[in-house]
Amino acid sequence: MIELSGLRYRNIGIDSLMIPPGITSVIGPNGSGKTTLLRLCSGIAEPEAGVILIDGKTPRETDVGWVNEFPDKNILFSRVSDEIASALRFSHHPCMEIDSAVNTIAQLMNITHLLDRTMRELSGGEKVLVALAAALVQQPKILVLDEYDSHLDEMRCFQIEHVIQTCAVPYVIRCTQQMDTAARGDYLLFLENGRITLSGSPERVFTSLSQTPFYPLSWRCKV
């Protein structure tokens, strides 16, 4: 379980929340604090008060994979293969092991054709795919995805969901503006002005949002 209690940071205020293992989607209006909450869950930001515990450990004591909403901000290296290998190199894994892990994740994500390219010449969507591969290569305990899908087409989104399932990451927290994507997760949080106003299964949360534009269009248009 991910346990949030007495959490205060900028506009975020969450008194108590338990997030079960699986894929949790965070939705809400622009500026409601989704990215800030994700930064706290990944340990990039530390709460002013309160705690976040992932199976009893703080995010900074946990292996975290993070994909930024601005893919350009994630990039450290110029070559794609170096970028994907970075987390393993920083933790001094043997070279052979790193090469093999980079190839495995690139094959799984169907991006082997990008390995020798430079990051600069990639399209927006391709940068997100590389950032995701770089996050998954170290087999994190928690994968935090900040609107990765806003740069991807439908086919790539489905493919990534399949990859995430194959990698069996225990906790995935993602924020998205695609309500149909949110509907496919295990757990859903609706954030408004820094407060979680709804949480539960997608069916339960979306039922409360049925009169708003946040209700998935595919549910509205059942054929």
């Binding site: 622009n30 595919s218 248009c221």
Partner: protein, 230 residues
Amino acid sequence: MKLHLNAARACRGDWSLAAHATFCEGVHLVSGDVGSGKSTLALMMAGLLSPTGGSIVRDGISSTMISLQFPEYHVTGATVAEECRSWGLDSDPILSEINLRNKRDAAPLTLSRGELKRLHLACALAKNYDLLLLDEPFSSLDAREKERLCEIMSQRTGGITIIFTHEQTTFPRVDHIWEIQQGMLIDRGEMPDALTRWEHAPALIKKIISSGKSLKNISPLDLQEAVCRT
């Protein structure tokens, strides 16, 4: 007013894109896979990237604006209000319209990504450009903002609007659909006939069409009407 692409080409290593087409006034949608060349095509149309072959002719077009996929590349003002003024616009009405008046003195890059996109699009859409190129305009916007943006786009009269996107659910009413496939820009034609030929159509639109419902256009309202129709 017309935008002619005369066998225009872009090449980068073994990747290439070819486009031979004419865009007339109205709202056009260009779809294609990740990395297919949507942004490259938009940059060429805007005149920011020279084609490696062929030519692009802007016939009767006196003003062009491209809205880039990442709004942070557009920022020139130190504050939100200054950013509006850098477009030659009065900041008050714009910021009221997009509900960002309380952030008028904030630095644009401290806004959330969705807020920054909202600010940038409000400025770009407030001016009446003859040729308006929108690269992934819906990315990061919340469901409410997407609907509002679609409404504004549908109200735009005259000019050529070209939307490059892989958005799956919320679209404005469009006049024409194009796709990039295997390095070629392909004309799928005018609405609603284009719909049956649109290979990148979102799953929901494909499902509605294959169920035999007649779909007039692709706005959320059109989809709901088609589903309700017996």
